[in-house]
Subunit: 316 residues, 2 copies
Amino acid sequence: MTGDGETGIVLADWGTSNLRLWAVDTGGGVRAYHRSDMGMGRLERDGFEPELDRCLAVMAVPADVPVLICGMAGAAQGWREAPYLATPCAVAEIADGAVRIDGTGRDIRILPGIAQRNSTTPDVMRGEETILHGLVRQGRSDAMVCLPGTHAKWARLAGGHLTGFRTMMTGEMFALLGETSILRHTVVAGDWSDGDFAAAVAESHGAAGELPAMLFGLRAGPLLFGDDAPCGAARLSGLLIGAEIAIGMAGDDAPLCLVANGGMADRYAAALTSLGIGFEIADSEAAVRAGLFAAAARIWPDRGFQDTTLTDPKGE
Amino acid sequence: MTGDGETGIVLADWGTSNLRLWAVDTGGGVRAYHRSDMGMGRLERDGFEPELDRCLAVMAVPADVPVLICGMAGAAQGWREAPYLATPCAVAEIADGAVRIDGTGRDIRILPGIAQRNSTTPDVMRGEETILHGLVRQGRSDAMVCLPGTHAKWARLAGGHLTGFRTMMTGEMFALLGETSILRHTVVAGDWSDGDFAAAVAESHGAAGELPAMLFGLRAGPLLFGDDAPCGAARLSGLLIGAEIAIGMAGDDAPLCLVANGGMADRYAAALTSLGIGFEIADSEAAVRAGLFAAAARIWPDRGFQDTTLTDPKGE
């Protein structure tokens, strides 16, 4: 299921901590892949172009092949700012908000993020909007999408539109509480218990409003019960994820789509399963690539991009 | 309102970060005060006795005067462990759980903490039980008591009994999120807005279960609205305290007593006032001293301790 076999475009996901590039043909088939750990967090503004050139040289990409980038490279502190679109919007519109990098020999564009300009709970995403676009292209136009991570996001898709989203700092909170707070004494990295995790998920999912009063028990439990206390790491993770699921789903009965992007998704899958909540898993990399490629087809209509990989829109 | 004028006992609150001592006469009147920053956190087990001796020498306390200590000196990692009493219990019973330090020339005893041996949300206190005892001695036998701090505690007193309590890591969470997390970029120490604080208190008090979804807005707000975004420090503090108040009060209609122990209590007072919740303020130092002295009267019935400072039990 590939196009003419030659590289038609390079798709790039340039995040805070790394850069991933796929050289694809005009049918969307991957011809080359490269990963660099030079994320936005390690680059000054004038460091982006040389890093991209370096990667494209490694991949032997000809000079006339365009590049489409999503992610933090488009942030104000990135290569060039691509101003946020605003909710609600059709996620396909990210193609229309792409900004072009001037002064390079190549046609390089960066997709915008999406902002929620809500006065009490404003929110922003950069990179996830492209995953969401990919999910829509895969046929998941109506869904509640959970994207686990340091800053997990829950996004509601309706008819291909992003109607709203919420970010929860679950991953960062787990690291802060487990490594830096008083709980570090009883949260031991590597310790795990599936049963303690599931029990904690159920507890905080059933009473998310009590979460702040549940955490110190991780310190008190081992003081009072010694080795009979629940596993600290599993319980902390379960309490945070259980509350996040309760808040993220918000009583919405849209089909739930869990975006798998590494080990964290396994925990979410275990949590949802233990709660009896049905969900579908989508691959993060396939989704971001599909989102980038579809945007490329809209940005460069004359280059003959046609996604032949989506014969079965839900097939992964 | 003093006794015979000579020092009858030394009362000591030995916490994690400091040691405070009061030499009082047999009527409870303070004759000398000393403070040391050699808290439990800075002492090995064999360091407690020399430090106490040093302080008593500074205060010129005779060798036959006993010492009663509350706080972390009685923890397992302290001077000598004073095993926890268990909820529910009369707070006056802490006197019966005091342990005596052997092998010193002086009569020195340490009061126990109180534990809540609840399997899902176990909790512990050391030091606060003595404040609670003091509050009961001051006539506050039936109350919901809020003790702000790094690890804030909400304790329910009924007929002089501690029926249950909950610890929330509000102060530590404020420091972690404001100084270490992604929010550090937008939470600026020293910045403050009373209006933004009150608005955040109202928001999280009204929807404590949504707290995890409110935090990232502190990052997104300034990105989207610049200087028009609410003050980060005030909003973070307000969100955490508003949720804490909702959880701590738990729909209980007992009179609320706020224990003032420094600047944090001012924020709680402002938050409660903005929510229209009535409360009484109790002084932390007066309460811990009253609790220690009343326990001393029970431990040493023949030494003639009689609290003449409590002519008006509610007077501060």
